[in-house]
């Protein structure tokens, strides 16, 4: 079966932040009333009729979303008969990325000409400590890891401790990533945090998981996003600028948080393998990229995945951010959206927000944060401690 070329031709996202209303509040904000306008808006941007949607891949909602089987609920709510397929997708941090990947697969295989990859992540009304009672069970062996009280980002903190030890890098160098990302977010209408953030602010913040403080770890928040994915033929006919999916790579190292065989934990093997696959499929090298939008919930994660993907040399990601090499206007801007730290990290849809940013950049809609002449961009998502990585390379087409 030959695969068809696939385009991203539309997108819409709501500003990230606190959308979920606490239980018992007389007036509630509900997920479908947030998501439906994004579906309508993204299809309008795509210039495609409502009837053209053949498939829906929905990033699974958080357990706090009361409406179950939300995908078919949405298909009814918006009167969308579907001949291609409908499903809800879970892959922990990779959830949004897999929802996009599935929409691409549906179109590439010919099951659908137009597919929506969408999701709404509501969680902010649950306290962080209570939320972690659930999330700790997703990021560890519940009988041999969770028993000690590891929080999800504790694994990243241990990456950071080891990385600082192995490469002689300081916390302050890595904190430059948070400062850079906040500058990017100030230019992004959907960013959760836009107020200027200094290196001193980052270093003085209260500790969350040492050595990571409040501004080096992701905020909690809600968000929603819809992407319109279609065959390149449909995109050409629609006559709008689009982003072509040029390459895709995936790898899971067969380990859950830590490898039982001692290895170099901060090498992020999955991101190395998946990015090599994606670059090969696209026929490019890392140095050909104009920007990268990475799933990186902490400063250290952005450093490690940038290095694993060959965007900066190992041990240099902090300095590259501080010196502007990976900032807007630099050699290779990373996380132009503001990333998980400042754009926001409604984690089940973060993978969708990654593609949304790439689509905005590659169709030159990114306004003040536009990467001039952006032609090739890469996006990543992951699960666990980057035990798995899914990487897409997209190209600007007009």
């Amino acid at each position: 079966m030959s695969l068809r070329k696939v385009a991203v031709i539309g997108g819409a996202a709501t500003p990230n932040g606190k959308l979920q209303t606490p239980e018992g509040q007389p007036i509630q904000t509900v997920e479908h009333e947030v998501l439906a306008p994004l579906v309508i808006q993204s299809m309008a941007v795509a210039g495609l009729p409502k009837e053209s949607v053949d498939a829906i891949s929905l990033a699974l909602c958080r357990p706090y979303t009361l409406q179950k089987y939300f995908a078919t609920f949405m298909a009814n709510y918006m009167r969308m008969p579907l001949k291609g397929g409908i499903m809800e997708i879970l892959g922990n941090g990779m959830t949004g990325g897999l929802a996009f990947d599935q929409a691409v697969t549906a179109v590439a295989s010919g099951q659908a000409d137009v597919a929506l990859a969408l999701g709404v992540n509501f969680e902010s009304a649950a306290s962080s400590a209570d939320h972690m009672m659930s999330s700790m069970r997703a990021v560890g062996d519940i009988d041999y890891h969770s028993i000690f009280g590891f929080s999800p980002i504790a694994w990243y903190a241990m990456d950071m401790v080891r990385y600082m030890h192995d490469f002689g890098v300081s916390r302050a160098e890595l904190a430059g990533i948070a400062v850079k990302d906040r500058r990017h977010a100030a230019l992004n209408p959907i960013a959760q945090f836009k107020k200027p953030l200094s290196l001193e602010d980052v270093l003085a913040a209260r500790p969350i998981v040492e050595p990571l403080g409040l501004f080096e770890v992701p905020p909690r928040g809600d968000g929603a996003c819809c992407l319109v994915v279609c065959s390149e033929d449909v995109a050409k006919e629609a006559g709008r600028p689009y982003a072509l999916v040029r390459g895709r790579g995936f790898f899971h190292e067969g380990a859950h948080q830590i490898n039982e065989v001692p290895n170099d934990m901060t090498a992020f093997i999955a991101a190395q393998v998946a990015s090599a696959q994606a670059y090969a499929a696209a026929g490019i090298r890392a140095s050909d990229l104009d920007l990268a939008e990475l799933y990186a919930p902490c400063t250290i994660v952005q450093a490690l995945v940038s290095e694993a993907m060959g965007l900066v040399p190992r041990g240099h990601a902090g300095r590259a951010a501080t010196e502007g090499e990976t900032a807007l206007g630099g050699r290779l801007p990373i996380c132009t959206s503001g990333g998980c730290l400042s754009r926001g990290h409604p984690s089940y849809i973060t993978g969708l927000l990654t593609i949304f940013e790439l689509w905005e950049q590659l169709t030159h809609r990114a306004g003040e944060r536009q990467v001039v002449g952006a032609a090739l961009g890469a996006g990543s998502c992951e699960l666990g401690n980057y035990n798995a990585a899914l990487i897409h390379v997209l190209e600007a087409k007009s």
Binding site: A129, Y144, A154
Partner: protein
């Protein structure tokens, strides 16, 4: 050789589930021994212990004792902890590479430096044991 013991306050915040298989591990730990399984055909150790060998899927495994000695690979102090652990916060947890070539995650006692030699200790909670590591003095 039995592992040193450290008395902990109260019950384990999030106790492990015990199965017919894992009971061997937890009962041995309560007696002061750190053990795991080894595949009979592959000859490979695995951790956590499993009723089969993950390397060759062989169905026959044997229980073997571990030295409990290793080196600290990494660690962190967790200030923002899940609800059940709030009375223990802040918590120092880490990753230890055992001399037998296995990597495990555990509670860390004291403040050992990275790569420092560490030894396993039984953490005696009121309702049962967990395991931790501390610097070898």
């Amino acid at each position: 050789m039995t592992l040193p013991r450290v008395k902990m306050a109260g019950n384990r915040p999030w106790p492990p589930r015990i199965t017919d298989h894992s009971k061997h591990f937890w009962d041995a730990l309560a007696e002061g021994r750190l053990i795991t399984t080894k595949g009979k055909t592959s000859g490979k150790l695995t951790f956590p212990p499993k009723p089969f060998c993950p390397y060759d899927w062989g169905q026959e495994v044997e229980w073997v004792g571990l030295s409990g000695k290793g080196r600290l690979y990494s660690q962190t102090v967790i200030h923002a902890v899940p609800t059940a652990f709030q009375h223990e916060a802040p918590i120092r947890n880490g990753i230890v590479d055992l001399d037998e070539g296995l990597r495990v995650a555990a509670r860390i006692l004291g403040e050992p430096a990275l790569d420092a030699p560490v030894e396993c200790v039984v953490l005696d909670y009121d309702d049962g044991p967990l395991f931790g590591f501390r610097a070898i003095l």
